[in-house]
């Protein structure tokens, strides 16, 4: 049952460029060797107000599984708000030394959401989460990595979609599930996403 669902799910997801793009240059990343990452609430270029918090709450897992310590995202957001920065755009302007002294992270992940949500068309609906991001060394200000994800979930009629929906987390809306996919696509694709971090059993073994 699960295999069928997985294959069906893969069929309906449109992935851009896993294993077809040339690998990135990770020299600065290796040099910096960050152990911990502060993810700021994403800047929102979409029409959905919830988009930043939807995406923000999906990044802890992929980053942790890559082997990084992730500064607790809700706590960081609340603390920044308490310090007078109510919008992600303001948080993205915060000086790096300030972020480093408060949170102690080695690197900061800045995400911008370009598209978020569903478009209802004649026969089917598409849910899209498009985002770009950069990782900056909090100690030096050096940009270590940049990437993007253009994740689309296109519904197909009938059996396949019904099976895929069984797999989705039913406690949350579909766009949030697609946001979780977008985080994986943004961060974890070998050669495109982040290098494995210090807590990963294969740290240091990413292909050069």
């Amino acid at each position: 049952m699960k295999t069928f669902v997985l294959l069906a799910a893969a069929g309906v997801f449109l992935l851009s460029g896993c294993a077809t793009l040339p690998p990135k240059n990770y020299a600065a990343f290796r040099q910096s060797n960050p152990r911990s990452i502060l993810v700021l609430p994403p800047v929102n270029e979409s029409n959905e107000v919830i988009a930043p918090y939807s995406l923000l709450t999906t990044v802890t897992r992929p980053l942790s599984e890559l082997g990084y310590y992730v500064i607790p995202v809700v706590m960081a957001d609340h603390l920044l708000k308490e310090n007078g920065m109510s919008l992600p755009a303001e948080m993205h302007q915060a000086p790096l030394e300030k972020l480093r002294s408060v949170f102690g992270a080695d690197a900061v992940l800045y995400i911008t959401i370009e598209k978020y949500g569903s478009k209802y068309q004649l026969v089917a609906s598409n849910t899209m989460v498009f985002a770009r991001a950069k990782l900056v060394d909090a100690r030096t200000g050096t940009e270590l990595w940049q990437g993007r994800a253009d994740t689309t979930y296109g519904g197909q009629s009938g059996l396949i979609e019904a099976l895929v929906e069984q797999v989705m987390n039913k406690l949350v809306d579909q766009a949030h599930n697609v946001a979780a996919m977008a985080s994986l696509q943004l961060l974890t694709v070998p050669g495109q996403g982040l290098l494995k971090g210090p807590r990963h059993p294969e740290f240091g073994k990413d292909p050069r």
Binding site: A9, S54, T57, Y69, P72, V74, N169, A180, T188, E202
Partner: protein, 118 residues
């Protein structure tokens, strides 16, 4: 969330990328945090506390490790509930498990002590 991981695993396997075992136990954390922003009426603080405490129990009963932020977020929910001793215990647990969090957890512990002394 397990299902989401399986889905992801399949996507990457199909694209010729590698899959591997999880380092950590993942339970209610992501959903609870998302609902706290999107549908706060569904997750009052006490519910959040229960969900995160449940994750801790299940993680400890599994072969997987407690993930970054679980103790901390539980501590923060306790802090918001006025359960300051518990908050301090959880912030301390986070920094013990994850020394990378020391700066932030020490800051939170000081905040909790500050509130407790009022």
């Amino acid at each position: 969330m397990k299902r989401l991981l399986l889905l992801a695993g399949c996507l990457f396997a199909l694209a010729g990328c590698q899959t591997q075992r999880s380092l950590y136990y993942w339970g209610n954390y992501e959903t609870t945090n998302y609902l706290a922003y999107s549908k706060p009426e569904k997750v009052p603080l006490e519910t959040q506390r229960e969900k995160l405490a449940e994750d801790l129990e299940k993680a400890k009963g599994s072969t997987l490790a407690v993930h970054p932020g679980l103790h901390a977020q539980l501590g923060y929910v306790c802090y918001q509930l006025g359960r300051l001793d518990e908050a301090i215990r959880e912030f301390t647990a986070e920094k013990t498990l994850f020394p990378e969090s020391v700066a932030f957890m020490d800051r939170m512990i000081e905040k909790a002590k500050g509130v407790a002394s009022k």
